[in-house]
Subunit: 355 residues, 2 copies
């Protein structure tokens, strides 16, 4: 039995894997694999419709928003967002809270002026800046809700005079959000929502079409909305697995219930980190992520033996990102609290051995 704490592509529910494997052999009794059926078949259209419906239901998406399943990952959104929202000669505001935010703002520079409202780069992104002003003449304000590498997460969103664009790749569907607070939300699926290869976009229709730019079809949200995410052949398998995962979230009691479980998991793990004399947390306490728990050994020589102990216990994917070091326990939606307990016990056992 493996306990998968990997940062992504990350753990999905075991029952989703079983259903997905079955669909690869025979999809819904059609006698055909999901991989060989037309995206225009009524069977696949039902999958896409259901995935969109579940996103709307789980997040109570209000009228006036479109839900899209696209390709290219969040990195493609880094370019699509300014392509669609930033007018020639216009300005966009970015909060630099990590490497991914930095990559996003670099792409925006291909399209216009970028105002970095605040940055925690000097402290290696261990906290999320909170004291800044959002320029009222910006086309939009871009934030990253959760920073996987550093283990920080926005505990609440900032009021903004301009549309908020949020990269939620690493905490989408992990907690309740108010979609009406956002102009555009995007998320690569491969952490909490599905496998790699599909990207969710939730966009407020009225913010589109205002730049006067000519936008190539595939990069134009409007084309994708009009095509119902099928302007071209969509990534059918990745959408199917996302639909299964969203259904699982619903069956668990929805985002509110998942959020409570996630809080219980992170609370238990942070309590152990704070209690255990051999380890310490990396992120500022008030910004601690409920998705990626980053910590280091007080004594760097303890790193390797602790990783070895983890390996023996079936704990995988716990090595920290190279830019931070130490350990990173990603505790996404599908990771059971029992796995967190196994990790906590390993930390306790390690502390006993190294008293």
């Amino acid at each position: 039995m493996k306990h998968n704490f990997g940062a992504g592509p990350g753990i999905l529910p075991q029952e989703v894997f079983k259903q997905a494997a079955q669909a690869v052999i025979d999809f819904n009794g059609t006698g055909l694999s999901l991989l060989e059926i037309s995206h225009r078949s009524k069977e696949f259209e039902a999958v896409l419709d259901e995935a969109v419906r579940l996103v709307k239901e789980l997040f109570s998406v209000p009228e006036g928003y479109s839900v899209l399943f696209l390709q290219g990952g969040a990195s493609t959104q880094f370019a699509m967002v300014p392509y669609n929202l930033l007018p020639e000669g216009g300005k966009a505001a970015y909060l630099e809270s990590g490497v991914w935010a930095n990559k996003a703002l670099k792409e925006a520079k291909y399209f216009g002026e970028v105002a970095v409202v605040a940055s925690s780069k000097q402290s290696n992104f261990t906290f999320i800046p909170k004291d800044f002003e959002i320029p009222a003449d910006a086309a939009y304000f871009h934030i990253t809700s959760n920073n996987t590498i550093y283990g920080t997460q926005l505990q609440q969103f900032f009021p903004s005079p301009v549309p908020v664009v949020c990269d939620m790749s690493s905490d989408i569907f992990s907690r309740k959000i108010n979609v009406a607070d956002f102009g555009l939300i995007y998320a690569g699926a491969q952490k909490n929502m599905g496998p790699a290869g599909v990207t969710l976009v939730i966009v407020k229709d009225e913010i589109l079409g205002k730049t006067g730019r000519a936008i190539p079809s595939m990069l134009n949200y409007q084309t994708q909305i009009e095509g119902g995410s099928m302007y071209n052949t969509p990534p059918t398998f990745a959408i199917y697995v996302s639909m299964l995962t969203l259904n699982w979230v619903k069956a668990k009691g929805g985002v509110e219930a998942i959020e409570q479980e996630n809080l219980a998991k992170s609370k238990a793990l942070y309590a152990e980190i704070d209690r255990n004399p051999l380890f310490k947390g990396v992120a500022a306490t008030e910004d601690r992520s409920h998705m990626n728990v980053c910590f280091v050994a007080e004594n760097p020589e303890h790193e390797k033996p602790f990783l070895k102990l983890c390996d023996e216990k079936g704990i995988v994917g716990i090595k920290g990102h190279r830019s931070v070091g130490g350990f990173r326990a990603s505790i996404y939606n599908a990771l059971p609290i029992t796995s967190v307990h196994v990790l906590i016990e390993a930390m306790q056992e390690f502390a006993e051995k190294n008293k």
Copy 2:
């Protein structure tokens, strides 16, 4: 037993489905699903390396070319090609041999001037124009090797004074090609190479970096080359299934052996179409595709009953595209010749009944 003649996403080998389903449950004995492992794990890196290696081996890709696995389908390539290859104020040449060629040239117009060297639009693309000149001052010459909707296929490629860019989405790996004849080849995987959600690009390195354009990272071939198709999280499952399918092609004896099988399949089917008084081919004889065999009933009233007979025999996906009507038998690499025989027998049975 189903005989899948669908145009795409299309049939893949049964053993590929079995291996893919197994990997969704437990990937290579890791105790983890392929869907939950890091793209940076040594296990997945081996998959991507093997997929690239197989492309190079099967097509004898010469030195100086890069092989990429990207997202976004051929439709994203319609924009990436001119973004990367067409200088400001420059011109690109396009052969308009079908709706997909038309879509490709429309995207190029976002980036510069487009010279349509020839078009068969007036005759609903039933043939491929051959009498034209390629302007020597064009940045590149774009062609579509096989036109799924109309059942036409380039039997030989045109000599060109400028780099040839070819959309091979519907016949990639179905026949031998000489990669050195091309500047860039691209193909959505979902017909002959894998599932929907991944796109193969083979590009001659020296044609890149000449436009002076600033290109957003994800749309820049150079970024993708430097990142080894992992500038961001790649579509891991789609790449894995493509690797399995390429391995299957190799085990069959390579592209040459597959090409002989494909010729045997198309020859048998066209022979029946030409012999059977109830049906007739759609495409110009000399341009007939070995991938998508398009035909119609001489008597339009025979359409529905023939589709019903096909349904009874497990023949699926044979309805023609709405713009052409009639029937389209897609006989991709993985479709066994036994399925073609089932279709031929259905045509013969239908002719007997309707004498």
